[in-house]
Amino acid sequence: MARPHELSRRRFLRGVGLSGAAIRIGLPSLEAMFNASGTAYAAEAGLPARPIETRFVVWFNGNGIIEKYWIPREDGADYEMTPCLQPLARFRQDIHVLSGVDNPAARLPGPGNGHHNSMSGLVAGEMFSGRGAGGPSIDQVIARQIGDNSRFRSLQIGVCQESFGESIQRNMSWAARDRPLPPEMLPHRLFDRLFGSKEQYWIERKKSILDAVSDEAQALRSELGHGDQQRLEEFLTSVRSLERSVASLPPEYAQVVEQPPEGGDLKDWPRIAKLQTDLLVHALASRQTRVASYMLTKCQGLSRFPWLGYTYERHHEYTHGRVESPEGQRTMRDICRWHVEEFAYLVARLKSIPEGDGTLLDHTCALYIHEHAEANSHKNAGLAMIVAGHAGKMKTGLHTRVTGTVGDLYLTLAEEVVGAPIGGFPTGEKKLTEIV
């Protein structure tokens, strides 16, 4: 590989006015950062070469699918692309289609309406608390292991907003039991968060204010009773993570990442989805975070689909009612295919960004999950999923019917693919050796 000049990470970071914290931020596709073969970062004086870090994205869709239009009939490498999976046809060798994944926590006796409990079991492997997820979600468990050196320990990004409004329906990432991490829904705000350019003076000022706020919160926390202490602790944690992310990115970013417009139709979900995906990919490429969740539609979501010609009902209603009729099935097929289309866009973008001797996709594990298998019956056994990317030891080019739980899958992906030693995950008992 031709390398015009050596550029160390340290030198590169000088454009970033961070106050103190050791955070790496880079420009995407900057070849000079990598070693001669492109397989790792260039070694710096006195330090061994560091491998290129893996990224983890969990991508979620509310409601379920029509299994016959989604899950391939054949196992192994020669499966036929189903109507819903068609948008991923050209990425066949970059993905692994999974079916048969069980979500047993969704069936524990407890509160919830068939969506709440599936959601909690799906993201956290725990029973719905009656208010929110019963524990931390998989992205947060992984972020705890690999997120500490990034500007953002993790990112939460969302697209469609229509929902019934309950906490468990509007959030997929949970810092802990009943502690939702809401997604950023608006592209221009996400851009500002990630790539906003600020003056050094602004950074110092922000820092001094946040220092004062932290001090006050700490003093106050010690005066309070247990439950209130926890609330203050959470506030303090959030202020600290804000402090850590206060930074200004070098102006070079303006050439790489286009600022999304503030206006336009903010309910044109296919447009918003792509803007959000672009920003997500740039955030991963520039190493601002290694872990992200992306909520295309809400749990038990109520999106409308004017671009598909379906406007009489909303997403959740299309999954019940007349869904068993031929036209009801076709409607759901088209809706599910749109979801896969948006995921295919993410895969395409990850693959378009060179990194080292390959692309960003080579260092990413992007997991696509649904709330249910068959939608109408709220089926939470035999879930169908997609893993995209070549991080770690992930096998691709296959459809595999696994025997295992969401916990088994997450444990496998975290430890064998992402390289995050999470040790275990609720409902997980074994690793799925057939996929890695």
Partner: protein, 648 residues
């Protein structure tokens, strides 16, 4: 039975209940119905909150004495009900001759074998366990609407920054519940950005809102700085600043003003910092004994009654000790209730209680309901709001919310309800004598919210009435159960009553659906957009999407039977919303539900066992006043938990 009792007589001690039996009862989910908000709340069995301590659980085990027949233990209701040897609405929870039954019988025998002296001791312990202190002090975050109102009153800023914060989630039926008041990193960032924007705007082009009490001699005039920090701090933190706080903020001020040589720059810095302080974002209370207690009362009154920060006069009253006696507080509350801001605050309660957000977001199948659109939905919400405002602020009997034989409609709504057009937009109109509508039960807001895009849902209607108007929590369908109803086709036309029969004929569904569906089925003459229809109209539209355009749907009409009843309530048969309205208005459970809902909204939490006497007392005052909502509010703000008195 003989075998079961034979094995069950072995000696046990008191720990048996908490260790062995309680987990069994928990697993078969008795507490789902047998709790204060459960559908079996009026029986003699009431489980404690799930998260109580061991002492409470032990005391609860002893309290089961009342359900034990000490002379003939096997005849105890505690045994015969859950095994369904006698009628039990919750069905058979424990199988006869199972290990679970043996455990239950062991405990029954233990209780039956207690001596009179032991029973007396047990009763003392039960009473002691129930006498827990008032719940701990809490720190509540400003709700988004309180944040908007507060920065409006504090800075004169109308931009409503909280409208772009991450949305608040519904928990326990409201958006202001403690459990939902965490601050995520995204929320912290939103607070930080809003503070920056608000602080800049506050002094842009000068001190337009008179935030600076004394004009400074120089950018770092210490006297002016001190006065500004104290005065603005008092309003931002809703209490006087401590000396340490004054020092800290003054230093921040002076550093910035010194650097920029501008007094206003220092002030901007202080405003930006204070707007991110936990003392601004949270309402921190230190209890009745603290020197700030009168200020805490001022905040509580103001945020509940006006949904905003206390004004200068209220803060002044707190400072002068004029919020000390119940009488003073009541007088203050009555004065505040006469202000239009009280209306706005209570409308927020109404909007959340009746889930106006869902009405406004509802979609109807446009092929069937061409007359329905967003404006009609908005008019429906307005209709309900007008009835509420009329009852609350004109001091009417609030139970008319369910029985009013009049309503407030726009021309669109009048057409939809087949009423004479109103003289002006949103005028009061009487229902015709033969109308089945009454109160909110006849309103489009309720009827639309509980329907699907193309059809009604008796289940959703019954559930909404249980949850919202009876404060009953109904257990969800067992996990993994197929909840799909039989499809209605041209070859198999059927009413919802017939479709829902599947619920009532199934052992696993009927226990709960008997509590829900028979209420909703009485509304079947009101369609998915709230219009009256003598017969149920089935429509088979053909293919969805573009292909269907222009194709005429087939319709079919079927007779409907609207007889209904409220399971668990004596003599509760009805067949129109009007008849149900009368039942609800007279039902103590419904009256108590109104009190509970306001309690939950006011305190931002679910009531607990220790709140029950308070709720009973509130209900009594509500009833004695002839159900004047204003009196209920006054009773609430002068109650012990609101004043944080009692346990000390």
């Amino acid at each position: 039975m003989a075998g079961a009792s034979g094995q069950a007589t072995r000696a046990v001690d008191e720990s048996f209940f908490a260790e062995k039996l309680y987990p069994v009862l928990h697993a078969v989910q008795c507490e789902r119905c047998h709790n204060d908000n459960g559908v079996a709340s009026e029986t003699r069995l009431e489980f404690p909150e799930p998260d109580v301590g061991q002492d409470q659980i032990r005391a609860f085990g002893l309290s089961l004495l009342d359900l034990v027949d000490r002379k003939d233990p096997e005849q105890s209701l505690l045994l015969r009900k859950p095994t369904k040897r006698v009628k039990h609405t919750g069905g058979q929870r424990i199988k006869p001759d199972s290990d679970e039954e043996k455990a239950l019988l062991t405990w029954i025998n233990y209780l039956a074998g207690l001596s009179d002296e032991q029973v007396r001791e047990a009763r003392v312990r039960i009473a002691r366990a129930e006498q827990r202190g008032l719940s701990a002090l809490t720190v509540r975050r400003l709700t988004h609407s309180q944040y908007n109102h507060t920065v409006r009153d504090l800075l004169g800023d109308q931009i409503q920054p909280a409208s772009s914060f991450p949305k608040e989630d519904f928990i326990n039926g409201f958006k202001n519940q403690l459990e939902g008041q965490g601050v995520s990193p995204l929320q912290a960032e939103a607070y930080s950005k809003a503070a920056e924007r608000l602080a800049l705007a506050a002094f842009r082009g000068g001190d337009h809102h008179r935030l600076i009490p004394r004009q400074p001699d120089s950018p770092t005039d210490a006297g002016s700085v001190d006065e500004f920090v104290r005065q603005f701090g008092l309003r931002a933190f809703r209490r006087p600043l401590t000396d340490g706080e004054v020092r800290g903020y003054s230093a921040l001020f002076l550093r910035e003003a010194g650097r920029t040589k501008e007094f206003n720059a220092g002030a901007t810095m202080v405003v930006e910092a204070m707007l991110q302080s936990p003392h601004f974002l949270f309402r921190v209370e230190r209890g009745a004994g603290s020197p700030d207690a009168p200020y805490a009362i001022a905040s509580r009154l103001s945020y509940f009654l006006w949904d905003t920060m206390p004004g200068d006069d209220l803060l002044r009253a707190a400072g002068k000790g004029e919020l000390s006696t119940v009488k003073q507080i009541e007088a203050e509350a009555r004065r505040m209730l006469d202000d239009p801001r009280a209306r706005v605050a209570m409308e927020e309660f109404l909007a959340q209680w009746l889930r106006f957000d869902r009405v406004l977001e509802a979609t109807r199948d446009r092929r069937r309901f061409r007359e329905y659109n967003g404006e009609v939905a908005a008019a429906m919400v307005e209709e309900t709001r007008r009835l509420f405002d009329h009852l609350v602020w004109d001091d009417q009997n609030f139970m008319e919310f369910f029985t009013a034989d009049y309503t407030f409609v726009s021309a669109d709504l009048a057409r939809l309800y087949d009423l004479p057009a109103p003289a002006e937009e949103f005028a009061k109109v009487e229902y015709p004598a033969d109308s089945g509508r009454s109160g909110v039960l006849g309103h489009g807001s309720f009827l639309v919210l509980t329907s699907k895009p193309a059809e009604t849902s008796p289940t959703a209607r019954g559930l909404f009435i249980r949850n919202q108007f009876l404060a009953h929590e109904i257990p969800p369908p067992p996990a993994g159960v197929n909840t799909v109803l039989p499809a209605v086709t041209e070859n198999a036309p059927m009413t919802n009553r017939k479709r829902l029969a599947i619920h009532l004929n199934s052992e696993s569904c009927s226990g709960c659906h008997r509590l829900i569906d028979p209420i909703g089925l009485a509304f079947e003459k009101y369609n998915a957009i709230g219009a009256f229809q003598q017969k149920m109209v089935l429509q088979f539209p053909g293919p969805r999407g573009d292909a269907a355009r222009g194709r005429k749907p087939t319709t079919m009409e079927v007779d409907v039977d609207t007889s209904g009843y409220i399971q668990g309530m004596e003599e509760s048969e009805f067949s129109t919303p009007r008849e149900l309205g009368r039942l609800l208005a007279q039902s103590k459970t419904c009256q108590r539900a109104v009190v509970k809902q306001l309690f939950r909204y006011a305190f931002g939490r679910h009531e607990t066992l220790t709140d029950q006497p308070v709720i009973d007392a509130l209900l009594e005052r509500f009833r004695d006043s002839g159900f004047r909502f204003r009196e209920l509010i006054v009773a609430l703000v002068t109650s012990e938990p609101f004043l944080q008195r009692g346990s000390g």
